[in-house]
């Protein structure tokens, strides 16, 4: 088990390193944050731009910039945004750039809460609905549940979020980050980031979590249903029934446990898409997660900030993948033995 965990950790670290390299090179070569200073033709602005370029090493070869950034990361994290607030003669920085790390970590935390809560809901919901559907195989309730599962899986997450957000704020309003409006008075649920406390968290996060989970429950309840149908035909289920175990125990302890393994590993493979969908939900409800950071980065064209955002998102994906892999290993002893 320890060997398994170490291997997975190394995989995650190498993945994040590769993403950081790709992101830094792509953004570093295509964005020039000192661009706004080139707009005015006078010599002072020109000297100011040269100072900014020299200070942030914007004109160095991209590989040496990456090595510098990586070294800086181990020293002081993501550092600061590029400051263009330069003045005086000779030019010097009047203010430093804003630190990237703290705000980013806060946003990543909110996104992680959103995704984590939604995944718990997805695991429970798919297991229950899938088992229910498999048990009533071909009955009317099974067919009805499957139609809803299909619909839930086909409607894009941002649309589910948009519809749910409308339910809170009424119909004549705009519901995206930036031009946010206040919810109708007396509403239980609120838009915007949670501000502290469990009750407040529930008021802000319940609808985003549900919006994120609905589509996934639609996909994975069908998954559980078909693997439950296979499992219920297996000899071990017959043995369990022949021993006289109650049906509930046969279903949940024997058949469902074995169906949860493919469910968890399928969900782990799709984590990237889930986190992508969480960004859509976050944008609709303005919960203050990574989406707001991405949308705020519009026009700033700061390669350091963009790299930090992408690396953090990939890091979030890797953390959830790691948890999923460990869960699968805990559920399935064969995987532990193979590692």
């Amino acid at each position: 088990m320890i060997l398994f965990v170490v291997r997975r950790l190394l995989l995650a670290i190498s993945t994040i390193l590769a993403v950081s390299f790709g992101a830094f090179v792509a953004f570093g070569t295509s964005f020039d944050p000192s661009g706004p200073l080139a707009a005015s033709p006078d010599a002072a602005a020109h000297r100011a731009r040269e100072l900014v370029q020299a200070h942030y090493h914007l004109t160095d070869p991209i590989l040496s910039r990456y090595v510098r950034w990586l070294g800086g990361f181990f020293d002081h994290g993501f550092g600061t945004t590029v400051s263009l607030n330069v003045g005086g003669s000779p030019p010097r920085f009047i203010t430093e750039g804003d630190p990237i790390g703290p705000q980013l970590m806060h946003a990543a935390g909110i996104s992680a809460q959103l995704v984590g809560a939604a995944l718990v809901l997805v695991l429970l919901g798919s297991a229950l609905i899938g088992t229910f559907s498999a048990q009533r195989h071909r009955y009317r309730s099974d067919v009805g549940v499957r139609v809803f599962a299909y619909l839930g899986a086909a409607v894009p997450t941002f649309l589910i979020g948009d519809l749910l957000a409308r339910a809170i704020v009424g119909n004549s309003v705009t519901v995206t980050a930036g031009t946010r409006q206040f919810p109708a008075a007396g509403s239980v649920f609120l838009l915007g980031p949670p501000t502290g406390g469990a009750v407040d968290w529930l008021r802000h996060m319940t609808l985003p979590v549900i919006a994120l989970a609905i589509g996934l429950v639609g996909v994975y309840s069908r998954y559980v249903r078909s693997s439950m149908l296979v499992a219920l035909d297996q000899p071990y289920v017959m043995t369990a029934r022949a021993k006289g175990l109650p049906e509930r125990r046969v279903l949940y302890r024997h058949a469902l446990r074995n169906s949860l393994i493919p469910l968890t590993s399928a969900l782990t493979l799709e984590i990237g898409a889930v986190i992508g969908a969480s960004i859509a939900v976050d944008g609709v409800f303005a919960t203050g997660g990574l989406a707001s950071m991405f949308l705020e980065a519009v026009g700033r064209s700061d390669p350091f900030e963009m790299t930090a955002l992408v690396v953090t998102t990939a890091g979030l994906v890797c953390v959830f993948m790691f948890v999923g892999d460990v869960l699968v290993a805990l559920l399935d002893p064969r995987i532990r033995a193979a590692a």
Partner: protein, 307 residues
């Protein structure tokens, strides 16, 4: 394999698959809907009554409901003909989905086939690379691309970017299928007959994965439609008059009413601006997902789930 008695005989595998597909009415309907929307997208410039983005200044501030004379789907808050906007939005969505699916399938098949067939260090490396690409959500990259270009990205641009990101699913499926097929007797027989690796792979192994490839490509179409619509919805740019998108139209319906109109209007008054793009998007996605399941049952009968 689970083929039924009536399927056997002298019919080839494709004919058998077509028969199995034809027996499921929902799959046929889904295929018809998908094809219809793709053809509408292809022919949008011919079908559209007006040039895209044209303003009817006399109607500004007074959006007309559907079935108004000269405007079958009404006009939007900026006085553009909504039928034209819808047609071009469908064109944008379907063309980027098509480009993305074609490209992602080509990349995924190439990488998956080589990794699954040869295994070894290239297999390990491509599994790792698949994991790296999959750890960056495609939506994030599309939002960055939208920011980067500072103007609406062309459907080809979206398609190409998504193609670079969404091949991972195809590569995984093809890799594992090829890895399981390469130990079959017919591969051994071909090798004994002196066939080269390339010939075995392209003539013997890959044709036997065509079912999996088609199903995976259908899944990519669905994913790319969702991601493009979400990116357009989130990174909504107000000057998209000439490049309407389904996601952008949904976003338009929620934003522009309060930003453009001087009098207040509730969404109920402007329902068509919200309902048409939303319903089209859901219909397209529902059809793609039903089609994917029907294709999986018809083309990969040995993996068919009971229903």
């Amino acid at each position: 394999m689970g083929s039924r008695a009536e399927d056997t005989g002298r019919r080839g595998p494709w004919r058998q698959a077509a028969r199995r597909f034809g027996r499921r009415p929902e799959g046929v309907v889904a295929l018809a809907v998908v094809l219809l929307l793709f053809v509408i997208g292809l022919l949008a410039p011919l079908l559209a009554p007006y040039t895209v983005g044209r303003l009817f200044i006399e109607l500004i501030q007074t959006p007309k409901p559907p079935l108004t004379p000269h405007h079958p789907l009404g006009t939007d808050v900026l006085s553009r003909d909504f039928a034209t906007q819808m047609l071009y939005a469908i064109r944008q969505t379907t063309s980027s989905a098509f480009i993305c699916a074609a490209g992602a399938t080509a990349i995924g098949v190439a990488i998956g086939a080589i990794a699954g067939y040869f295994g070894g260090w290239f297999g390990e490396l491509s599994t790792w690379a698949t994991g790296v690409v999959a750890s960056v959500p495609a939506l994030v990259v599309l939002i960055i691309v939208s920011i980067w270009s500072r103007f609406p990205v062309s459907p080809i641009g979206y398609g190409l970017w998504l193609m670079v990101l969404l091949w991972t699913g195809v590569a995984r499926v093809v890799g594992s299928t090829v890895a399981s097929l390469r130990k079959r007797e017919y591969v051994e027989a071909a090798r004994a007959a002196g066939a080269s690796n390339l010939r075995i792979l392209t003539r013997h192994v890959l044709p036997n994965t065509s079912g999996e490839i088609i199903v995976a490509a259908t899944a990519v179409i669905g994913q790319s439609i969702v991601i493009v619509a979400t990116a357009d919805y989130l990174y909504y740019a107000y000057n998209q008059a000439e490049k309407p998108t389904l996601g952008g139209l949904v976003s338009d319906a929620t934003h522009s009413a309060s930003l453009v109109l001087t009098h207040s209007a509730s969404l109920g008054d402007l329902w068509w601006l919200y309902v048409f793009p939303t319903v089209t998007l859901v219909l397209l996605l529902l059809a793609v997902s039903v089609l994917g399941d029907a294709l999986a049952e018809a083309l990969i009968p040995q993996r068919a789930t009971r229903s």
